[in-house]
Amino acid sequence: MAGVEVVSEQGFRTDGRKPNELRRIRCKQGVFSHADGSAYIEQGNTKVLATVYGPHEIRGSRSKALHDRAYVNCQFSMATFSTGERKQRPRGDRKSTEMTMHMKQTFEATILTQLYPRSQIDIFVEVLQADGGNFAACVNAATLALIDAGIPLKDYVCACTVGFVDDVTIVDINHLEETNHIAEFTVAMLPKSEQFVMLEMSSRLHLDHLSKVMDMATKACKDVHLVLDRAVRDHVSEVWQQLGNT
């Protein structure tokens, strides 16, 4: 497809990874003190910052208030310098609006919103550098930020992209692989119950391969969960120690 071979004969991808190998994830919680919760994540060259405010009273139009649960307000934004060509609008175009909507749905389903009627929770994510799997990185970052803010969740939300090309399933695809019109899955799931919160697929994939791809996606999300979970535990114990406890 389009000249570039996504997986070489030796079974390696363009950036040297094996098909089922994630990019390196580095993350940090509590990067800002002014926000109620914040987190920074790097998945390979994709870098995302997330902040969370709330739960607080409804800001802006009062009519948004929901009488039985919290209103989740999300904003997905990509810095103008984050892509190869300069982005004209950081947000508000059709794709960003779609991302914002997906974020909102994902977290409305996982935050225990019914605990905070008539209030609002803000989740803002900013993509600083985009190299594929932007949405997955945003979801992971937002999860960490929500945990940092102490907002009750059903479970971690772990997200990951999976591609399928030439009979091979590849996980956590980067930008170069994305541009090759390969079948692409973006999933966000609750790792413990193995339930999908968000599921998006584009391009073409034969039905016979579907189960294979989804199994791989589940595994990848669980791997992400391990990394996130360790980061959270490290962060908590660090804070615990800072408070003078040993």
Partner: protein, 453 residues
């Protein structure tokens, strides 16, 4: 506009009915409402009806310069219009979140799955390609917009013919339709979407939800798939959680449904083509007439071509026109003797009182300075304004006497008014450079950086 609010008893009832596997229209859970596909008179025009949901799609084409990143590919542009016609809560002219969702779903289903061969739309690499635009107008929203729109869009694309093009060297000729037959687009496959509504934490699911069902559902899954069992799109929305086996189950049901719809599209396309070839009638009007003649529907009415009796029209028109004709002609001929005075070259004034004598009691004689305000010479205008400062007249307390002001006074107030207009413009601190005011035509009247202080 606001839509009707959903009452608690409705919500409870609809959920209870679904739990019993009962739908208001008596359908089974995996059954679609009846689908009607009609094609318009124009090529690329398709109207699809699923139950009461109605969508109109129109395909058009245009020659554009390709994107730099893809110089050999044409462009497929999708535009979904949700107007208040379909549902009172939709707003015209502004794309809502829901509009974006439908639009993106169609983009991913049709464009990202490469259902149209974009490379065949290239006329001259890097310079000229076809842009195919699909406008999808939602006419009535009774649930399941995405499925209805996807059928309309792909059927319209298959129905469309673009003008033929010949390229010889640098020369590109686009043949009009009467010169050379138009060519169809090369459609690689027919991707269609099947929407599932989820209820009761995913324990119940049904196909083709109506608006009533959509309002109470937990969420929905849209499966884009073609006849060759290739998954083209997957989209889950709403706050719900799904398990892998549910996904697989939905996809398999969708694979079964999509074959029937594909056959329906192909069948209707063939019928329309046959009608066009054999010179039979086609288009919406014909379909409406067919329905009317077939079924006795009280809401439809039809009359055949009617003749209007217009024998006396010519004569009556002549009487009306000629009634005053002579007098008008005389006045037109006399127009040149009218009262035109030229004060300065390039400026003239006409006092027009052709009927009756000139009225003088309320008329201020125009002075030259009044028009100089906009003269080329900047030096004169500064002169004028200094003159005006002394000529401000207090008008606030004037009572009936103001009617009796002398013509000179009136002229002064006139000047003070125009002065006031000028100062009002300046007071804003921001000057709107008129688009013809500078040497180069300013593209925008406002805010091009000049400031007056």
């Amino acid at each position: 506009m606001k839509d009707h609010p959903l009452s608690n008893c409705e919500e409870k009832f609809v959920l209870a009915a679904i739990a019993e596997n009962r739908r208001f229209d008596g359908r089974g859970v995996y059954i679609y409402r009846p689908i009607v596909i009609l094609y318009g008179h124009d090529r690329g025009c398709c109207h699809v009806q699923i139950g009461c949901t109605r969508v109109l799609a129109q395909v058009s084409c245009e020659v554009i310069i390709p994107k730099q990143t893809r110089p050999n590919e044409g462009v497929l542009h999708m535009n979904v219009e949700l107007s208040p016609m379909a549902c009172p809560s939709f707003e015209a002219g502004k794309q809502s979140d829901y509009g974006v969702e439908v639009n993106r779903a169609l983009e991913r289903l049709l464009r990202d799955s490469l259902c149209i061969d974009l490379e065949s739309l290239c006329i001259m690499s890097g310079e000229k390609v076809w842009q195919i635009r699909v406008d999808v107008h939602v006419l009535n929203h009774d649930g399941n917009l995405i499925d209805c729109s996807s059928i309309a869009a792909i059927a319209a694309l298959s129905h469309f013919r673009r003008p033929d093009v010949t390229v010889s060297g640098e020369e590109v000729t686009i043949h009009p339709l009467d010169e050379k037959d138009a060519v169809p687009l090369s459609v690689n496959h027919i991707p269609l979407s099947v929407t599932f509504a989820f209820f009761d934490q995913g324990r119940t699911l049904l196909v083709d939800p109506t608006d009533q069902e959509e309002r109470v559902m937990d969420g929905k899954m849209v499966v884009g798939i073609n006849k060759h069992r290739e998954l083209c799109m997957l989209h889950v929305s709403g706050k719900m959680l799904v398990l892998q086996d549910q996904v697989v189950r939905c996809v398999n049901i969708a694979a079964a449904r999509v074959g029937e719809i594909t056959d329906l599209i192909k069948d209707t396309l063939e019928k329309d083509n046959a009608a066009r070839k054999s010179g039979k009638e086609f288009g919406f009007a014909k379909c409406l007439a067919d329905v009317i003649l077939g079924v006795d529907d009280l809401l439809k009415h039809y009359v055949d071509s009617m003749s209007v009796d217009t024998t006396s029209v010519g004569q009556t028109a002549k009487t009306v026109v000629d009634a005053d004709g002579n007098r008008v002609q005389m006045e037109v001929d006399n127009a040149e003797t009218g009262n035109v005075s030229i004060k300065v070259p390039g400026t003239g004034k006409m006092s027009t009182n052709t009927e009756g004598g000139a009225v003088t009691w309320c008329e201020g004689e125009e002075s030259d300075s009044d028009v100089i305000l906009l003269d080329k010479n900047d030096s004169t205008s500064s002169e004028v304004s200094s003159k005006q400062v002394s000529a401000v007249v207090e008008l606030s307390d004037s009572e009936e006497e103001s009617v009796l002001m002398t013509s000179q006074d009136l002229e002064r107030t006139e000047l003070s008014k125009s002065r006031a207009i000028e100062t009002r413009e300046n007071r804003g601190g921001r000057c709107r450079g008129k688009s013809f005011g500078g040497r180069n035509r300013g593209k925008r009247g406002r805010g091009n950086g000049q400031r007056y202080f």
